[in-house]
Amino acid sequence: MRNRTEKIVEIATWVVIIIVIFGVRFLPVKLLDNDSVYILIGGIASFALLYYLVIYKYFARPRRIYLKIIADVVLIGVLIHLLKDYGQYFFALYFLPIAAAALELEFINALLIATIASLFVVFEIFLSSQSLLPERNQYFSGVWQIIIILFITIFCRMLAIQIRQERSAKEESILKQKSLELEAERQKEFLSLTSHQLYTPLSIIRGFVSMLNDGTLGKLTSKQKDAVSEIHTNSVRMVDLVNELLSVSRIQAGTFTLDKKFSRINDIVQGSVDSLCKSKQNNNIKIKVEKGDLSPINIDPNKIRQVMLNLLDNAIKYTKTDVTIRTSAAKDGQVVEIIDQGVGIDQADFEKLFQPFFRGKNILELDNKGTGLGLYISRIIIEKHGGQIWAKNNPDGQGATFSFKIPAM
């Protein structure tokens, strides 16, 4: 495609050159002698043969471009030198490279090149009007004009090449970006379908077991009830595990995004506490909420709720003690603290706490209460909000406090 455009541009350039030559040829005879025209036509034909049969065939594209520039410059210089005594007619040659640029480049870039070239012409006119240019009949007159035109040609050609290279780099980067987006979209679709396929049987198992468990499907014996209750608890765990594994997959695939809207942290905290209190196994644990005076903040409420549930679940599962949640406004954001009364955290574990699958023990001593992904996912969610999450032992030596801060803006 690029080679084809290049060829079309070249052909168009040559057509313009030939038209100019014939234009000059049909001027009144006294203005031009025939020999000059034959020399020019011969020169152009040789150049065309040289270019298309030798340079084009035997040189790779980048080197060819430079050879072509040099050849163009030499040719246009020779043309102008030969025609220098014939007034404004050869001025058309000034704009050959510009015409080439206009044919090849986008409108605005060609216009930019033409404007720059025009400025050179204006500059020449200005120098001429100030009598700073040598007299026309002097030998230097031709040299001077050739220098200016060569300069314009080189400049325009270089600019055109630079713009073309930039454009091709931009096209490449757009193409790369598109392929990355396509890949991300595919990953997203894959994860959506995977979760659908995993959730479908799980949702039916969980639903029916919950109905067996709460007696909707009839009375069970005590032993049956125990078994069903275990199945129910584990089916819920399985759903949570799939949920967290999918979140981690989304994080790794780079498709984990936030859906931000102005929301009240206090409402999210209260909602999380209410939903946790509804589940039976947490009946004996008291959760106290101390709410600060907080204004709505731009966050993803569902994701922050997920963080709250993870931290609360963590505090309850691992410490089995009462929990206090405190929300407050900080200088540069809003802070939520989850304070438990458990055994606290070992000094060595602080750094690893928010890593995936960290549960404070080595893998052979896992206590199987959670997926080991909750704190990691919470960290990612808070960091995506531009905030921080951390843990520290309470100053009174009783338990630990998990906190996160979300910036106000």
């Binding site: 959506s192 659908h196 959730y199 639903g207 109905m211 759903v239 409420p301």
Partner: protein, 133 residues
């Protein structure tokens, strides 16, 4: 109170219908979108639960048709699916769904709670999404 559940998975239909019936609610069932629309027009349910992935006529199309029908558009429609909210939550909200529920996270009891609260929704039909755990 009448509830229509449109889902191609018979186990899902059976599970939710059974529970809702136990809660004193009439549960209508449809195994595909066309049958669902037909039942909705005939029976005028109070709430519709709609799956997304169904053969031929998917949940988005069914939702569009419900919302384009002057007689049905007032009925709150909850998408009840196993597709994660990230993939289609925004889309269904813009189509006028009352909420987006992931089946694996909503046991029949929670669905019954939503049906009961949907009566309030009818008086104030501002789209709201159920939080996804």
């Amino acid at each position: 109170m009448k509830v229509l559940i449109i889902d191609d998975e018979k186990g899902v239909l059976k599970m939710y219908s059974e529970y809702l019936k136990g809660g004193g609610i009439e549960a209508l069932q449809a195994t595909d979108g066309q049958a669902g629309i037909k039942i909705a027009r005939e029976q005028k349910p109070d709430v519709i639960f709609l799956d997304i992935i169904m053969p031929r006529y998917n949940g988005f199309d069914v939702l569009k048709d419900i919302k384009a029908d002057p007689e049905l558009k007032q009925i709150p429609v909850f998408l009840l699916t196993n597709l994660p909210a990230e993939s289609s939550g925004d889309k269904v909200k813009s189509l006028g769904a009352a909420g987006y529920l992931v089946k694996a996270q909503y046991e029949p009891k929670m669905i019954l709670d939503i049906v009961k609260s949907a009566a309030t929704y009818k008086e104030n039909p501002n789209p709201q999404s159920e939080p996804i755990k």
